[in-house]
């Protein structure tokens, strides 16, 4: 059983690389821009579509110098679209309650920055990608799935499934599954391993390092 766990953990690391592989290799900018919709009262499908629109717009601003521009553009949208405190909590799992409130706050802030930086870094160039919403399902009264598909210009498709939870802020994304791979699962495995091995400071250092490398590599 333990063996298999490590096998999975291995797969998880490789798949982590895969999950964003597609988006990392995206192409040249194009010209379409749309006005963002007001989304606080929107239903789950619109929340997701608005996010996708923002992503596509950010990709149009692709290029080495534009990372900060993309970051600034995505930051408010991601913080609104995603329930980052909830995700951050879930990502640390049982370790969350072992942190003191100060540490929790620190982690959430670094985690949020890392999340925004990851999107800004991965979705860095536009080459004809299209997001299409496939369907919306209710899992539980306050939990829905919005299934979407990202079509690359070469014809390859990837499935992006968003889980949304109704909060006081309206519907917010709490997890994304890319081709069935759960983002929280991948991050939780990784972060809890770092927490176990290197402690809280090690985790924050790692988050910052990843944020930095996103900025530098894009």
């Amino acid at each position: 059983m333990t063996h298999f766990r490590s096998a999975f953990s291995l797969a998880r690391r490789t798949l982590l690389a895969m999950a964003f592989l597609t988006s990392a290799a995206l192409g040249a900018p194009a010209a379409s821009t749309q006005t963002p919709q007001v989304q606080s009262a929107a239903d789950p499908r619109h929340v997701v579509e608005h996010f996708h629109d923002t992503l596509i717009r950010a990709m149009h601003k692709g290029g080495k110098t534009a990372f900060d521009t993309r970051y600034a553009m995505l930051d408010p949208v991601i913080r609104r679209t995603f329930d980052l405190p909830y995700i951050g909590r879930a990502v640390l799992g049982p370790y969350w309650s072992k942190l003191n409130p100060e540490q929790q706050k620190t982690f959430l802030e670094h985690f949020a920055r890392n999340t925004v930086a990851t999107y800004a870094g991965r979705f860095n160039l536009y080459s004809g990608e299209r997001f299409a919403t496939l369907n919306e399902q209710t899992l539980q009264p306050n939990l829905r799935v919005v299934d979407t598909q990202l079509a690359e210009s070469g014809g390859k498709t990837h499935r992006f499934s968003y889980l949304l939870r109704r909060t006081t802020e309206g519907w917010q994304v709490v997890n994304v599954l890319v081709d069935r791979i759960s983002n929280i699962a991948v991050q939780r495995s990784e972060y809890t391993a770092i927490l176990r091995d290197k402690g809280f400071d090690g985790l924050i250092a790692r988050l910052d390092a990843m944020t930095k490398s996103m900025r530098e590599s894009s």
Binding site: M1, R5, A7, F8, M18, P94, S161
Partner: protein, 888 residues
């Protein structure tokens, strides 16, 4: 034919034989004249009795019926089984499949098929049924749930991507990612070797033409959905109580269903049947099979030994024929008067043959002695008869008293045995005094017998000379052995006596070794659920109790907290990510392409990688497959089936396990509720599990005692076992005391001298002490099988004592007594019983074997005490009596 006997000569007087009365003499003569008529009548009677036995023979197979139903524990048990009949007399199907998930699926299918046959299977229950699959996570505590959550989190990417591509392609891609260039920086490859090894075994068995699917559910561990690889289906069969093997129709039906469902060994399934009903059937099978087998063997060995011991084929035939006849009469008498045999009373055969053969031997050896003296057949038979009447009648009466002493005990199995065995003694006596002389009267006597008496084995033993030393040694040994003898334990565990070659027994023993606490649970019936909960709480404070369950124990605690954790898990591992893609591609070419990609990925594994070895093994297996079977489309698709293994079932079960529903007392499944709460009366059952290893009888007793102090009306298997043991030991104790008093009174009446009576008891008592002490030293214990030796020991011990003391009391010097045929007869008779039943010592059934061993030990000591110790003591007691024989 008749002729006058010679007048009693001087030797007769010297040997102290009283002169028989003329009336007795005339009677004996008449009997001899009608010898043929007697034999014809006996044969007719035997045929009639045999016919009757063959028509009416039954064994009451209900082992619980061995105890008196008036015992409190029996009454409580009866009450419990009236309210919860589904718990009684069950068959437990132990289902094992090639993988845990397939075991679970097989158990579910078996249960479903059995449920359709309501008439034969009124109740079918799966302890780890679908309800527990769906809601299993709620029964874990918070830290356990965290562990599961972490494990599932780590596994999510792999499980979900495989769920999306359940084929060799999916597996190949996964392995490609794991061993591909991006993975090279990952230091931890230790887990992957297990997966590769499993895949390699699957390919290898496919190469060998076997079906051994990859057990993904085992790789994932028992807590994730599928559960353990052994699954149980508990079946309440309708029992055919009229039959010798009441559960047989049900067992056969289960086997048929199994075959119809394709749960065969070729598909990697094994279903073993055990549980009380199956065990009872097994026990009866081995009892009847063993009884007939050993009875034949006993008779055979007996015949051989008698032939040699009596130095006469004819005498042997006469004794064996007489024995067989009176055996049939006794069996018929038992059936007609006492009723059906039970598993204890059937052992009357042992007691009957043990003593019956002794009577025959005593008679024949006496006859041989008289034949050598009188040189003529008829007078010799007559003389033997007239002189044997007294000792044999007394011995038979004493044995009958000993066996009848079991009548007033609580152990109805034993009292039935006492009734049959006691009566059979009188029948055996009749046979020996009427049929055996008739046989001997019409059979020619061997010339050699006329010429020379063949007895006197003991004439050269210097027992008399060393009488003081022998007596002293016996006294010392007896006193030293006493504490040991009293410490020999009684092991009441019937399971140890069963034949472990039988599937039901072997399976039961295996389960018991693995988890005795779950097999031996105590039940307590309470008026309502609140009382049950209160009692359970008190019982949970008892040290030997692990936990006490009521219906409410199945309502998990802290469900809110657990649902919050499970909710989080649902976000991480949403059910839709576990939805299985449509059946894998049945296109053999696609599978071939995937196999070849997999081969390439494996080839890329560097030599120094920690997974190099399993990767090489899998690679070789794939090469072999390609070179031999890759052309065959069916072989290719079969290989895919083996590699994908139970992954679909595993993922489906996991997915179910992640969607529990809140549990209340009312939402528990009906069959579970009905096992703990009677819907009609509201009476509730508490089920108590022990924290001790109950394979040890002492622990079992402690567990029962502890629970009884809190719940005096506790019942269930452990209580029944312990209470039965108490009843049995009590019954044997009571019957032994009664036997001692009865025999004492009888002997006092006949011998009119308490001192002589004590002398008869002496060897018996000493032999009893030495037997028990020897068993203790050898690490043996008394149990339900060998305790039957006790009445036999008393019967034979007293009989031998009587023969000796009677001869001696009639005035002979002890050395003269030792020179007669009697000690030889005692030795032969003891040896005959020892060899015929001692042969059971090598039996495969542990119960039979231990009975045989105990019997051998007991008879050895009886012979030692009667033939060595008793003469020595008599030599001291007789004092002034002169050793006349020396002058010879």
């Amino acid at each position: 034919m008749s002729s006058a006997d010679p007048p009693p000569d001087s030797e007769e007087r010297i040997l102290g034989r009283p002169v028989p009365s003329p009336i007795a003499m005339a009677f004996a003569e008449r009997m001899q004249r009608h010898a043929r008529a007697i034999l014809v009548a006996a044969t007719v009677l035997t045929l009639a009795c045999g016919f009757y036995v063959a028509r009416n023979f039954t064994i009451n197979t209900d082992t619980d019926a061995l105890l008196s139903p008036d015992l409190p524990s029996q009454r409580d048990q009866a009450e419990l089984s009236r309210i919860f009949p589904q718990l009684e007399d069950t068959i437990v199907a132990v289902v094992e499949g090639p993988t845990p998930a397939l075991s679970r699926q097989a158990a579910a299918r078996l249960a479903e098929a059995l449920q359709k046959q309501k008439a034969l299977f009124p109740d079918v229950y799966r302890p780890e049924g679908d309800f527990f699959l769906r809601n299993g996570l709620l029964y874990l505590d918070a830290p356990e749930l965290d562990v599961i959550a972490e494990r599932l989190t780590q596994a999510q990417p792999m499980i979900s991507s495989l769920a999306g591509e359940l084929s060799v392609r999916g597996i190949a891609d996964l392995i490609g990612l794991a061993v591909g260039p991006e993975a090279q920086s990952v230091p931890d490859l230790s887990g992957f070797d297990t997966l590769l090894t499993n895949l390699a075994s699957a390919v290898e068995s496919a190469n060998a033409g076997q079906f051994r699917p990859v057990a993904w559910s085992r790789l994932m561990g028992p807590t994730m959905g599928a559960g353990a690889s052994t699954q149980f289906v508990i079946v309440k069969p309708r029992l055919d109580t009229a039959s010798l093997e009441p559960a047989e129709p049900a067992i056969e039906a289960i086997r048929r269903i199994e075959a119809n469902l394709g749960l065969t060994a070729e598909q990697g399934f094994r279903i073993r049947l055990t549980g009380p009903a199956a065990l009872d059937t097994a026990q009866i099978e081995s009892a009847t099979e063993g009884a007939s087998g050993t009875t034949l063997l006993s008779f055979g060995l007996l015949a051989i030994l008698l032939g040699f011991g009596l130095h006469s084929l004819r005498m042997m035939l006469a004794v064996v024929s007489t024995l067989l006849m009176s055996f049939v009469w006794s069996a018929a008498f038992g059936l007609a008067v006492v009723g059906p045999f039970n598993l204890i009373s059937i052992a009357f055969a042992v007691l009957f043959i043990g003593l019956g053969v002794d009577f025959g031997i005593q008679f024949c050896v006496r006859y041989g002695e008289d034949l050598a003296r009188l040189r003529r057949r008829l007078p010799a038979v007559r003389s033997a008869l007239l002189y044997a009447v007294r000792p044999l009648t007394l011995a038979a009466a004493a044995a009958a008293i000993s066996f009848y002493s079991a009548l007033p005990t609580d152990y109805s199995g034993l009292s039935a045995l006492g009734a049959v065995a006691g009566s059979s003694m009188l029948i055996a006596l009749g046979g020996t005094l009427i049929v055996l002389p008739a046989f001997l009267s019409i059979m020619a006597a061997g010339k050699r017998h006329m010429e020379r008496a063949r007895f006197g084995l003991f004439r050269h033993l210097p027992i008399y000379r060393h009488r003081r030393a022998v007596t002293l040694a016996a006294a010392l040994i007896g006193v030293a052995a006493l504490p040991l003898a009293l410490a020999t334990p009684f092991d009441f565990d019937p399971a140890k006596l069963q034949d472990s070659r039988q599937e039901a027994v072997r399976t039961f023993n295996g389960l018991r070794r693995a988890d005795s606490a779950s097999l031996y649970t105590i039940d307590v019936l309470t008026p309502n659920l609140n009382a049950a909960d209160a009692l359970a709480e008190r019982l949970n404070g008892v040290k030997s109790v692990k936990h006490a369950l009521t219906l409410d124990s199945f309502v998990p605690e802290k469900q809110d907290e657990k649902f919050a954790k499970i909710q989080e898990l649902t976000l991480i591992l949403p059910p839709f990510s576990l939805v299985i893609a449509p059946t894998p591609s049945q296109d053999a070419n696609a599978v071939r392409a995937a196999l070849s990609d997999l081969r390439k990925h494996l080839a890329a594994v560097p030599r120094d990688s920690p997974i190099a070895e399993p990767a090489r093994r899998l690679g070789l297996a794939l090469d072999r497959f390609r070179s031999r079977r890759a052309e065959d489309n069916r072989a290719v698709l079969d290989l895919q089936r083996q590699m994908v293994g139970d992954l679909p079932e595993t993922i489906r079960m996991l997915s179910e396990a992640l969607q529990p529903q809140p549990i209340t007392r009312e939402s528990l499944p009906q069959d579970l509720r009905d096992r703990y709460l009677d819907p009609k009366t509201g009476q509730a059952r508490v089920e108590v599990f022990s924290s001790l290893d109950l394979n040890n009888s002492k622990n079992l007793e402690r567990f029962v005692r502890d629970v009884q102090t809190v719940a005096p009306r506790a019942t269930g298997a452990p209580v029944l076992l312990v209470e039965a043991a108490r009843a049995i030991v009590g019954a044997f104790r009571l019957s032994t005391v009664l036997a001692a008093i009865g025999i004492f009174a009888l002997l006092l009446l006949v011998l009119r001298n308490p001192g002589k009576v004590l002398l008869v008891f002496l060897p018996l008592t000493l032999a009893g002490v030495l037997t028990s002490a020897t068993m203790n030293v050898l690490g043996m214990s008394f149990n339900l099988a060998n305790i039957i030796v006790l009445p036999l020991l008393i019967g034979l011990g007293v009989a031998f004592g009587i023969y000796f003391v009677l001869r001696w009391a009639e005035g002979a010097h002890v050395e003269q007594v030792l020179r007669t045929s009697m000690p030889d007869a005692v030795l032969l008779s003891g040896m005959a019983t020892m060899i015929s039943f001692g042969s059971m010592a090598v039996a495969k059934t542990p119960g039979m074997a231990i009975l045989g061993q105990t019997l051998s030990i007991a008879l050895f000591h009886v012979l030692l005490c009667v033939l060595v110790v008793l003469p020595a003591v008599l030599g001291i007691v007789q004092g002034r009596r002169s050793p006349l024989v020396r002058s010879e």
